[in-house]
């Protein structure tokens, strides 16, 4: 009876465990094994050549395209961290009060995040690409009397990556906005009232109440931004079309190209392991940092 009972309970988790084992655990093991092999994806897997740490060495010391991709992702992440999150915070702060149409704004700001990266990339490409003078940004610059700022934003290697970062921020700020707003609304209004009675002006109460109490939320949003932005790449496929000779290449695009264009599955896996490790370390550091900074009262 007891055994039958346990078997019956296992029935509940069997489908989940099976799918998880086949589509998560086995690929996970594959990635770690293949990282140490040289394999073109065509010959039988058992004929793949074991190369030890050669893939990792190549990535670290002989592959400038990998480091360029890392730098590019870092640049996009810095812009997203500062620009996108600042906008998100400001919007949340602006909505955290008795104002009209608050719900309307909240609904609108989360539209970009629900769209697919492909759609967003291709729509923005149509808006800022140089096809027969259809570039909306350039036409606006001309209209407001700044024709010398007209530029082919996506075709110039100097501006392509930053353009990617800005479109990425357009797509992503709604996440931060919603989380910041929830955080701000959780701050009891008595605190502000008490500060007001004590004669604190708006800036003082922002600095001494809002910022310290919001610190855990700010760090959470930062972690999500870093993890999300470092791994973003589909938007670039939609917006630029691909790596643009390395100018808009990011790590996951590199992995995809190494696998699909160069058929070097082992090397692609080595890059995936290293990059995944870096992401885990980053989020761990940020998490520890957030523990230390957390106010004792919260």
């Amino acid at each position: 009876m007891r055994i039958k009972n346990i078997l019956e309970n296992y029935l509940f988790i069997t489908p989940a465990v099976l799918i998880f084992a086949i589509f998560y655990i086995i690929p996970f093991i594959y990635v770690f094994r293949l990282g140490f092999y040289d394999w073109d994806g065509i010959v039988p897997l058992k004929d793949a050549v074991f190369v030890g740490f050669a893939n990792f060495k190549e990535m670290l010391f002989q592959d400038p395209s990998w480091w360029q991709a890392m730098r590019n992702a870092g640049w996009v992440t810095i812009i997203a961290l500062i620009f996108q999150n600042a906008i998100a915070f400001l919007l949340a702060w602006a909505c955290d009060r008795e104002i009209k149409m608050k719900n309307f704004y909240r609904v609108i700001f989360f539209i970009p995040p629900v769209l697919s990266e492909i759609v967003v990339g291709m729509v923005w490409r149509f808006i800022i690409n140089d096809v027969e003078g259809a570039n909306m940004i350039n036409r606006m610059l001309t209209a407001i009397g700044l024709p010398n700022l007209v530029h082919s934003w996506l075709n110039d290697p100097n501006t392509a990556l930053t353009t990617v970062a800005i479109v990425h921020s357009w797509k992503g700020f709604g996440w931060g906005f919603l989380i910041f707003l929830a955080g701000l609304q959780a701050i009891p209004s008595e605190l502000y009232e008490a500060a007001h009675i004590d004669g604190a002006n708006a800036w003082r109460s922002f600095k001494n109440i809002t910022v310290p109490l919001m610190m855990p939320v700010i760090i959470l949003v930062s972690i999500l931004t870093v993890l999300g932005t470092m791994q973003a790449f589909v938007l670039i496929i939609g917006l630029v079309g691909g790596e643009f000779a390395g100018h808009t290449s990011v790590p996951v695009l590199r992995i995809l190209a190494v696998m699909r264009d160069s058929s070097r599955f082992g090397y692609a896996c080595a890059q995936g392991i290293s990059f995944g490790t870096i992401l885990v370390i980053i989020s761990f550091i940020q998490y520890r940092f957030s523990k230390e900074r957390q106010p004792k009262t919260a």
Binding site: F23, F110, S116, V119, V123, W124, A134, I179, R260, F275
Partner: protein, 282 residues
């Protein structure tokens, strides 16, 4: 008195500035989408001349062309099929597992649950490389079944986590009563637990619907045949083939974007809930 008036003026100025800021961001959010829809209603000749948001003449023909000649009709149905099957699959499989993790006893329960949570936290960028190899081995690459199973796996961990958190907080009285009445465990899961979990199931359904509809990379590496492709992959191919026909392309993009916008507008309450609770705990 004067101070009160001064205070009022100051407050309304601040309010006006805040509205100006919010409205300008609203315009920046909506403009690209309105421009997409508007361009999809123009022709190749007028799209580069008529820059107004409301076209002088509405050309619905682009939608007909995209649907038929672009092969969008087929891919649209593919996307709907994948989204429906994956979401139903996730709801059933994840709620069964979450219920067991929350209520039932069996050896290895904690280890298994920790594994699911770890999978949720640890990113493996480039896991698609291994998935490609695996599906090839299983002869599931370039098949809808392979894609559906892989996508169920993608949404599984987070959904189990959300549902288990909910079941943990759910009062047990109703389940006990059902057991007294001779209801089996599966019966309790189906007749008691699932109906009570409706609010969190809605969150699970919305997020997975958006995720599957918008998914690109797995579909890209899994499918070679156009007949199986979902919209997101097909539209990128389409861009390569009809590179200069922008109104047609915009019609295709509108077809791909409209369903998620509608789902979002209808279910936005659950999205806010998911983002603010799920994100903070996940």
């Amino acid at each position: 008195m004067r101070a009160a008036i001064y205070y009022k003026i100051k407050k309304s100025t601040i309010n006006t500035l805040i509205h100006l800021f919010l409205i300008s961001v609203t315009v920046i959010c909506l403009y690209p989408l309105l421009w997409m829809v508007s361009s999809s209603l123009k022709t190749q000749e007028t799209v580069f001349k008529d820059f107004s948001l409301i076209p002088h003449q509405l050309h619905l023909n682009n939608y007909v062309l995209a649907w038929q000649e672009g092969g969008f009709g087929r891919c649209f149905l593919n996307s709907i099929f994948y989204t429906a099957t994956v979401v139903v699959g996730i709801v059933i499989i994840a709620s069964l597992a979450a219920y067991a993790f929350s209520r039932l006893k069996f050896p290895g329960k904690n280890v298994l649950f920790i594994m699911f949570i770890a999978a949720m936290m640890i990113p493996i960028p480039g896991s698609f490389v291994a998935l490609y190899v695996l599906l090839n081995k299983l002869h599931l690459r370039n098949t809808p079944v392979g894609y559906i199973l892989a996508m169920i796996n993608v949404g599984l961990s987070v959904s189990i986590f959300l549902l288990k958190t909910f079941f943990d907080k759910m009062p047990k009285e109703l389940e006990d009563a059902a057991r007294m009445d001779g209801c089996s465990k599966l019966g309790i899961w189906w007749h008691v637990a699932l109906p009570l979990a409706k609010p969190v199931l809605a969150v699970v359904v919305v997020f997975n619907t958006l995720a599957v509809w918008n998914e690109y990379i797995l579909a890209l590496i899994i499918f070679d045949s156009r007949q199986f492709m979902p919209l997101q992959v097909a539209i990128k191919l389409f861009q390569g083939e009809f590179v200069t026909n922008y109104p047609l392309l915009m019609a295709g993009l509108t077809i791909a974007a409209l369903p998620v916008i509608i789902v979002y507008l209808v279910m936005q309450k659950y999205i806010v809930k998911g983002v603010t609770s799920g994100a903070i705990y996940g």
